[in-house]
């Protein structure tokens, strides 16, 4: 697993500095030179302004960007799945995966529009670990993404301050859970897995914090994603 930049910042001063002028902070701290993040000369001012870490931001907008990042990943994945369908994809699988692709695109575009100028950039996915020609690989990845999405929304709900955004998150998470159930059932029909290992012995589904989720999804994204300013 790639190393991520999502470790919680224990030092409030550095976090604040990073927010105020990340570029200045990095330069003055000598971090830029040490990490080789800036190869000067060929870089434009725009390049320097945006280092290679995507910061999700803070407060409710940070959480919305967090959801936006995850929806970008899911939408990109299912778009690829339906552009290059695996061998012998059944009609039912085609209907289900096409529906899910469309739902994820709607989610992605919803967050993008809701965030407006606060939206993070379009992320570049890294699906090199997925064999899109292989049913098991594709459905396994789909299950991972859906289970992760549900656990992410379940864990982020209590971090949201605006009741309207909380409701939107609630409206989406149950659809992700419906996806997760359908995908698990495609892998192993009418078995326990549609609502299986993600649920503890109190009948409660996973709820993970953004830091746990982000380190889990980082290998699937080329850009480095930082949630260090998210509420917790």
């Amino acid at each position: 697993m790639k190393k991520t930049l999502t470790q919680p910042s224990e030092h409030p001063d550095s976090a604040m500095l990073a927010r105020v002028d990340r570029r200045y902070f990095l330069r003055s701290a000598g971090v830029a030179a040490a990490t080789g993040a800036f190869i000067l000369g060929a870089c434009t001012e725009q390049d320097l302004m945006s280092d290679d870490t995507v910061d999700l931001g803070e407060g409710d907008f940070g959480i919305l960007n967090y959801a936006y990042a995850l929806e970008q990943l899911e939408a990109a994945f299912y778009t690829q799945v339906m552009m290059t369908p695996y061998l012998n994809m059944t009609d039912m699988e085609k209907w289900i995966l096409t529906d899910i692709r469309d739902h994820e695109i709607v989610h992605r575009e919803f967050f993008k529009t809701a965030l407006g100028s606060k939206a993070i950039k379009g992320l570049t996915p890294n699906f090199s670990a997925i064999d899109f020609a292989d049913r098991r690989s594709v459905l396994g990845a789909a299950k991972l993404f859906e289970d992760t999405g549900v656990a992410a929304y379940n864990g982020a709900g209590k971090l949201i301050k605006d009741v309207n955004y909380l409701l939107v998150a609630g409206k989406i998470v149950s659809v992700e859970a419906r996806h997760a159930s359908a995908i698990a059932d495609l892998i192993n029909p009418n078995a326990l897995e549609f609502a299986g290992g993600q649920i503890n012995n109190m009948g409660l589904e996973n709820a993970f914090s953004p830091s746990v989720i982000l380190s889990g999804v980082q290998p699937f994204v080329m850009d480095k994603i930082s949630g260090k300013n998210l509420p917790r």
Partner: protein
């Protein structure tokens, strides 16, 4: 049935009925309704009483008891079905045993959280006052009720999320139950689609289609596309994605009164 007469009789029992009713008193009303009134009037009467009793923002205890009542309903439903012989087709026995197990866990969890404040298990009538006479003889009727219960559960928990925003720990628990109900709903709906050979019966809800209609309509129907003031059906980036798909991408909430109006006819008598 005259709704005003019911409210009058409630006022006679408790002069403060228009305000927030005490827990025990409320249960007495439910018993009276369950035992003495025509079933057809129950949903409205039940919802009206509960609406009065709970007010605009129910307390956490009230929300948890509301959830517990729904979980009792689901658990009892699956418990009975799973113990009938030759009722649930063999290929689906694992599915319904898994669902029953979760509902039992939810009941236990909520009872544990509520302690002495937990309501007791009501007596249920799964024929819905005679509307589903073959609930226990026809698997299609049974699984139709199952889908309605699961989708109602999803919408019921979602409808209470906002009321729990000041109780983050309980909000998280509620969300953790909420997504489990959605997983159940998805598979039950897909089994119906398979049995009816209806590809349009999907794991997700298209527009506000579904039976019975009350489960899918309400103040915010499942066909709604406006979320946090933004119409998802008009987003420029969604290209040619159909309105049907847009409605599927979001589940909608039901209010407590709407849920109780749906669940009311299943409740023959509230527990004491």
């Amino acid at each position: 049935m005259n709704i005003f007469r019911i409210l009058d009789s409630i006022q006679q029992v408790d002069g403060d009925a228009a305000g927030r009713l005490a827990h025990t008193t409320r249960r007495m009303f439910m018993n009276r309704i369950g035992s003495s009134l025509a079933t057809a009037a129950v949903p409205t009467a039940f919802a009206a009483v509960v609406n009065k009793a709970y007010g605009a923002t129910p307390s956490v205890t009230e929300i948890l008891n509301f959830a517990l009542t729904l979980e009792y309903l689901e658990e009892t439903f699956y418990f009975q079905a799973n113990r009938m012989t030759n009722f649930i087709p063999a290929e689906y026995t694992l599915v319904f045993s898994q669902i029953e197990r979760h509902e039992t866990q939810h009941v236990d969890f909520l009872k544990g959280a509520l302690g002495s404040q937990a309501v007791d298990r009501p007596q249920f009538d799964f024929t819905y006052g005679g509307a589903f006479p073959d609930a226990w003889t026809n698997f299609m009727t049974f699984i139709t009720i199952s889908a309605a219960l699961e989708d109602t559960g999803v919408r019921a928990y979602k409808g209470q999320a906002g009321n729990l925003i000041t109780a983050p720990a309980i909000l998280e628990y509620a969300l953790q139950v909420h997504s489990v109900e959605a997983r159940h709903a998805s598979l039950v709906r897909r089994i119906i689609g398979h049995l009816k050979k209806d590809p349009m019966m999907k794991g997700w809800i298209t527009q506000d289609q579904g039976f019975p209609p009350a489960v899918y309509k309400g103040a915010t129907p499942e066909s709604n596309t406006v979320h946090a003031g933004l119409d998802a059906a008009t987003l420029s980036g969604i290209g040619s994605i159909s309105r049907d798909n847009v409605t599927e991408a979001f589940d909608e909430p039901l209010t407590m009164e709407e849920v109780l109006a749906i669940a009311g006819p299943f409740i023959k008598k509230m527990g004491m």
